[in-house]
């Protein structure tokens, strides 16, 4: 009758159960675009009309993101990149440590970029911990902007700033705002890509949200 003698469920058990049931959102579906500073107000109006979380005013955020890389000293494989994000406007929130995998580019028919993404909240000791592990800072930047939500989709309209050590104020790296539409979902839920594409079409011709392969663009210019 009573369940007093049932063994407590361990964390590993629940984790493996979750993995089997495929409910861990470890994939990110992503579409990116940009909008010029002169047109960002119009975009914000449109998003306010389309999205859900605007009853109490638009949500803003001000984050700093630092990208660490862990290299194998023998330089065999590509380095592991980890991203640390801290909120500059809410100092007591935990840091977010995120791993982003390589985007799955082979399938041209997919409407969005699909890449694996794992994130976890950590304390501020994280930076020391990563340094002790041997990670070093690759680059860092700060983003400041607005966040909208529609159902499962998250839309951010943000300005990317380069953090300069000498002067105090960060300067923007371009005259545009970066617009990102992303969904975190478990593997295999590809239908969300279609919904994202439909939503992205509603923002045209203001913003052209597409899947952009930044690795290819990065390589094009460094050579």
């Amino acid at each position: 009758m009573s369940a007093a003698n049932v063994a407590p469920i361990t964390a590993t058990d629940s984790l493996s159960q979750a993995l089997k049931a495929n409910i861990i959102p470890n994939q990110e579906y992503l579409l990116q675009g940009s909008v010029l500073d002169s047109a960002v107000e119009v975009l914000l109006h449109r998003l306010r009309g389309l999205c859900d979380n605007v009853d109490a005013g638009t949500e803003t955020f001000d984050d700093q993101e630092v990208c660490f890389s862990l290299r194998d000293p023998n330089q065999q494989a590509a380095p592991l990149m980890l991203r640390l994000r801290k909120a500059l406007d809410a100092r007591d929130m935990p840091y977010q440590l995120r791993y982003i995998g390589q985007p799955d580019l082979g399938d041209k028919s997919r409407p969005t970029v699909v890449r694996s993404s794992l994130d976890i909240a950590c304390s501020g000791m994280l930076i020391e911990f990563l340094n002790e592990l041997g990670c070093r800072i690759e680059f860092e930047y700060s983003v400041k902007g607005y966040m909208f939500r529609k159902g499962r989709m998250k839309i951010t309209v943000s300005k990317v700033f380069k953090i300069s050590q000498s002067s105090m104020s960060p300067e923007p790296i371009s005259q545009s705002y970066l617009v990102e539409l992303s969904v975190l979902a478990p593997q295999g839920q590809d239908a969300i890509g279609e919904d994202m594409r439909a939503f992205a079409d509603q923002l045209r011709p203001l913003v052209q949200l597409d899947k952009i392969d930044y690795k290819r663009l990065g390589h094009m210019s460094v050579t």
Binding site: R136, E138, S176, V207, I212, Y214, M220
Partner: protein, 249 residues
Amino acid sequence: MQREEKQLEATLHAILNRVNDLKAAIQALITKLENEYETINWPTFLDNYAILSGHLTGLSKILQSEVAPSLRSVVVLPLQLGCERDEALARLTEGRVPACTHDLVPDLLRTKPEPQAEQRLQQFNHKASTLSHDTAQKQVAQFTKVISHVWEIISKGREDWEGESMRSAGMQPTHSIADTHALVTAVGTGKGLRPGMPSIVPPGVGAPGMGPSRGPAPQLGPSAPTMPKAPSAIKTNIKAANQIHPYQR
């Protein structure tokens, strides 16, 4: 003989149909004017006139067609004029002509234009014949000039109207592809964000490009993604310096 009769009948039938259509169109125009005179606008009115002219054209086509026998050779004569009401006639004409009276018949069976119209036509003919060839030419030239002037004004106005609304929506891009690429690569690979690297200057933005190796600020599209060799040299220098630190502390 019979064939001609049949043709005549067919032609008359066709003419009757056209005339009925014309009548209906005029009726519609009159009712429209009477009932909607406050809300009618010029284009709608012109549309109705276009309908009327369409019917008239159809009618004239029938009359000009070669199938129609020469109607000039056919004459309609009133055989009997009377003052009493004729029921058959009234039925035929839907109550409009109750009797074949003396004053109605000249109007209904008229072949020449009305006296007033005829007089005016005579006046114009007289005036036209007294004009010399030169004056006539000059007047025609003036007329064409006035018409073309009015045409220019109207077409310019239309262009301004339509051009403004169409062009202003299209000519102002709200996003720049170069900016998109720059932002995405910056966020993804840190291009332009590493210390010591000159910042990425997307073309057409006009932000001053920093860094000694930039040289003249590139204004063209292709030059921004393909940066000159010197910055990558700086980047590799920094990398080499940083490689000393992990695992060797």
